[in-house]
């Protein structure tokens, strides 16, 4: 004799499907017939209960999330949003109110520009600064180093550009301003 039917086979038979051999087994097996009868009864009871008025209202559905989960999600989203908003706003205010960012050694961009302009026009500013005390001397050194860095950077970039096309005479021209950086420091060294 065949093994007893599984639940799925019983449901299929109840739905009017299922294999002919399962149906013939059902007709010959008292145990399976009893299970089939119980399935039919259960489905009738469930159908009656669900169809009976009124359907309940106060049963949480599967889709219902816990209240705390929704509250937590909203809070997290709010915190992230406010953080982003204020970070941007504070960044903007800080940019507006803070002084010009100082370069290496505390030299501002404005000072650097003034130094380069003064140097190309005549005497570099550190010549004047060097003679006014130890602190000013250090400042003069810093300013000089910053201008030297700037020229070195510009020279490097131009050299790279010209190298890409062809090696020309630009390198000689670039080194010329750098030579003037030492002007006025003969006195400092002594």
């Amino acid at each position: 004799m065949r093994r007893c039917l599984g639940d799925k086979a019983l449901v299929l038979l109840h739905e009017g499907d299922g294999r002919p051999e399962d149906r013939s087994h059902l007709e010959g097996c008292a145990r399976c017939a009893d299970r089939y009868r119980r399935l039919t009864d259960d489905l009738r009871v469930i159908g009656v209960v669900l169809a009976s008025d009124p359907a309940p209202a106060a049963v949480p559905s599967r889709a219902a999330w816990p209240r705390w989960a929704a509250a937590a999600a909203v809070t997290v989203a709010l915190v992230i949003g406010l953080n982003l908003l204020f970070a941007r706003e504070w960044g903007r205010v800080a940019w507006r109110t803070s002084p010009e960012p100082a370069g290496a050694g505390g030299v501002t961009t404005e000072e650097l520009i003034a130094a380069v302009e003064a140097m190309t026009a005549g005497e570099p500013p550190w010549v004047e600064l060097a003679g006014t005390g130890a602190a000013s001397g250090r400042r003069a050194s810093t300013l000089q180093a910053s201008v030297a860095d700037l020229y070195a950077t510009v020279a490097g970039e131009e050299a790279c550009e010209s190298l890409a096309a062809s090696l020309g005479d630009e390198c000689d021209q670039l080194s010329a301003p750098a030579d003037t950086l030492g002007a006025g420091f003969e006195d400092l060294d002594s």
Partner: protein, 172 residues
């Protein structure tokens, strides 16, 4: 001879409104939502009665529109989840109003267990089970109405039955 649209609508309203609202209450946790779905479905029926000239099987049409409306409502935004989750489960409150005599014979605790179990089914399983075993549709009709294959309907049905029977079998 074709009925006047208004007459046809009134007849269909009288014959199906209670059934459609009951269907909505089965598929949605909130009775107010079920009422709204009923009104929405019958508004569509009113419009369809005026525009549809072909003979129609209005009963299945109404059921299909109601099932779709319930599904749309379940998907309509996070606030709906919030609203559903705010409905607290209270012992003894599930079937508080008078059920049918047949259902009364089942016993309150058992009815509560069935409803609890039904509410925990996936939406698709609920729809399939209701259409097949409460509305009494064939598997093929359910498949067509829900846009599923008959095999898929049978799978959903088997899972729903297994789950619901498990609820019945707890303490008999």
């Amino acid at each position: 001879m074709a009925l006047h649209p208004n007459t046809q609508y009134e007849e269909l309203y009288a014959a199906h409104y209670a059934r459609i609202v009951r269907l909505g209450r089965m598929l949605l946790a909130n009775p107010d939502d079920a009422e709204e779905v009923g009104q929405e479905v019958f508004l569509k029926l009113f419009q369809a009665c005026r525009t549809e000239t072909r003979p129609m099987q209005w009963g299945p049409w109404l059921t299909r529109v109601a099932v779709n409306a319930c599904r749309d409502r379940r998907r309509s935004g996070w606030w709906k989840l919030w609203r559903e989750s705010s409905v607290e489960l209270q012992e003894g409150s599930i079937t508080s109003a008078e059920p049918s005599p047949e259902a009364q014979a089942v016993g309150r605790e058992r009815r509560d267990r069935i409803w609890r179990s039904f509410r925990r089914l996936a939406a698709r399983q609920q729809e399939v089970f209701v259409l097949r075993h409460v509305e009494g549709w064939s598997t093929e009709a359910v498949a067509q109405a829900l846009g599923l294959s008959p095999g898929s309907v049978k799978r959903h049905l088997f899972r729903a039955i297994r789950h619901l029977r498990a609820a019945l079998e707890v303490n008999g």
